[in-house]
């Protein structure tokens, strides 16, 4: 199994979800993150003093998938979150040693 982690633009959440759902993914986990890369930040001003914010808000989407599906899922995520501009983010995949569905105790691919 694989765990696919995507750090992407917050506003892309909906299109990623749609993409994954139509591919047949039944679950995913989302959390808040922020980061920087090629994309530059912005400036806030409070009483004339500038605060340069360069960690920009992102979301982290995590999907657990079987080895066979992992590559397709990677492609689906990329396709649905790409805008071609800096700040689009990163996606990576790691090997999962074991996965369990808590409700039933099922393990391995059955857990996904």
């Amino acid at each position: 199994m694989k765990l696919i982690t995507a750090i992407v633009r917050p506003e892309k959440l909906d299109s990623i979800r749609e993409g994954l759902e139509s591919y047949g993914v039944q679950g995913l986990t989302v959390s808040a993150a922020s980061g920087y890369g090629r994309q530059r930040g912005y400036t806030e001003v409070y009483r004339g003093a500038e605060y340069n914010v360069d960690l920009l808000p992102k979301i982290r989407v995590e999907v657990l998938a079987t080895d066979e599906q992992a590559d397709d899922i990677l492609d689906v995520i990329i396709a649905s979150s790409n805008t071609g501009r800096a700040g689009d983010g990163k996606v990576w995949t790691v090997d999962v040693f074991e996965a369990v569905r808590v409700r039933t105790g099922e393990r391995g691919s059955a857990a996904i």
Binding site: Q39, R40, T43, A49, Y51, D54, L55, R85, G87
Partner: protein, 450 residues
């Protein structure tokens, strides 16, 4: 002249009404998304700033005194408030100023999240001058609808004690026009993120509005009887409207909501505004229920008809404003046995007067607001860019974000203001950037991502 009870009441009332506009800022600001809350509040705050100045300079002068065709006063008659000599003259000017301030601020709820702040700062003084002042003059300043005015003499004077036409119908119509000109928010009717970000703020706003409304409705009372009636009606109508709205929600949606309670209060207050001195307490209860139910139903219209009146200025202020104004045709109490609404045997006279006042206010406000808003929209543009809207108007227009609660949030660096005047020429553009371009003209930095 020594302070009388009437002077004190009016000064207190004026302070209460002024406090309503920041209350409105919270009522509205809590309903937007977090990334647009400050801008929403700023639209109310800047109304205080700009109308406060306009009123001192020419607004007060234009809304009373000798007028032009019974439509508007002479802006130069007491320009800068020179020449006002009655003892309570300035107190009345102050009280009147607070009405003008909140009326224009009310409009802003309809165009949340997407209006250019610069355009709003043009709209506010122009609209107050060309729309608010004339309507206030016609209704209260001795103009068309007054006892001596052309229409007032023809149909009998319309009753609008505290501003059903001048404030609520007027603002509601202007709000609708602005929405039609500026257009809907991105994602209107689809995006689940358009939910209120801070409902306690909405409730705080409603509470401040209710508190201040005792001054709004009551300030002009001159007798104890009238004062008492207004006070009790200003309690009864919103209380009943809150219940009306909540029952509607319970029946239709399954749950009574706190946003509904806050909204019902405001709907009831709007409806009782023109009627507060002229209906019985039981009449106020009935009027409140009707307004609460009607506005609770009316807020759905925008989805059906597709106009993004974001915070329901039309559904609440226009709808309940019309209800309150027209209801007087039915439930106005006779004055010393004379007149009164249909239900009190006063015949249809009052109803015609009320309908005429509402109709003319709607027409006047619609036409003038259209002209002003279109002029602004065609020249400087009334709407932010798509990118600015996505980033959020707080950041893109004000270079601020409303909250910063936490750790690990943003990071970044800090550039204190070493030069008193840095000579930066702002361009109003979004400080946030895309594509690795630092667009903030202020810094001059610009780097393109690889």
């Amino acid at each position: 002249m020594e302070l009388t009870a009437g002077h004190v009441w009016l000064m207190v009332a004026a302070a209460l009404v002024l406090f309503m506009t920041p209350g409105l800022a919270f009522f509205y600001g809590g309903m937007t998304r977090a990334k647009a809350a400050l801008n929403m509040m700023m639209m109310s705050f800047i109304s205080i700033g700009m109308v406060g100045v306009v009123w001192v300079l020419w607004g007060a002068s234009m809304s009373s005194g000798e007028g032009f065709m019974e439509i508007v006063g002479n802006p130069f008659a007491t320009f800068g408030l020179e020449g006002i000599t009655t003892p309570d003259g300035l107190i009345k000017v102050g009280y009147a100023a607070t009405f003008a301030i909140i009326t224009v601020a009310l409009i802003s709820g309809a165009i949340a999240d997407r209006a250019k702040f610069g355009a709003w700062t043009v709209f506010v003084p122009v609209w107050v001058t060309l729309v608010y002042c004339p309507i206030a003059y016609m209704v209260w300043g001795g103009g068309l609808f007054g006892a001596e005015g052309a229409i007032g003499k023809a149909l009998g004077p319309a009753i609008d004690f505290a501003g059903g036409t001048v404030v609520h119908i007027n603002a509601g119509v202007a709000a609708l026009i602005l929405v039609l000109i500026i257009g809907n928010r991105r994602g209107f009717g689809k995006d689940p993120n358009h939910r209120p970000h801070n409902i306690p703020f909405v409730m705080l706003g409603a509470a401040i509005l209710w508190f201040g409304w005792f001054g709004f409705n009551g300030g002009a009372a001159t007798t104890a009887e009238q004062g008492g009636l207004i006070w009790i009606n200003t309690l009864a109508a919103p209380a009943a409207a809150m219940l009306g709205w909540l029952v509607t929600e319970r029946v239709r949606d399954g749950h009574p909501t706190s946003l509904g309670a806050a909204s019902g209060v405001v709907a009831g207050l709007v409806a009782i505004t023109p009627a507060c001195a002229n209906v019985s307490p039981v009449g106020a209860l009935g009027l409140g229920v009707v307004a609460g139910v009607a506005s609770a139903l009316a807020v759905g219209l925008k989805f059906r008809w597709g106009f993004d009146d974001s915070l329901d200025v039309v559904g609440v202020h226009l709808v309940s404003g019309i209800i309150g104004t027209v209801a007087l045709g039915f439930i106005a109490l006779p004055v010393e046995g004379v007149g009164g609404g249909l239900f009190y045997g006063g015949g249809p006279t009052q109803l015609w007067a009320q309908l005429a006042a509402a109709g003319i206010a709607i027409a006047y406000s619609a036409v003038l607001t259209t002209i002003i808003a279109l002029a602004i929209h065609k020249t400087m543009g009334f709407r932010v860019s798509q990118e600015q809207e996505v980033v959020g108007v707080d950041l893109s227009l004000h270079a601020e974000t409303a909250y910063e609660f936490g750790v690990g949030g943003h990071g970044g660096s800090f550039q204190p203001l070493h030069e008193l005047i840095t000579g930066k020429q702002g361009d109003g553009s979004a400080p946030a950037s895309e594509d690795g371009k630092k667009t903030d003209a202020a810094t001059g930095k610009e780097s393109v991502g690889a």
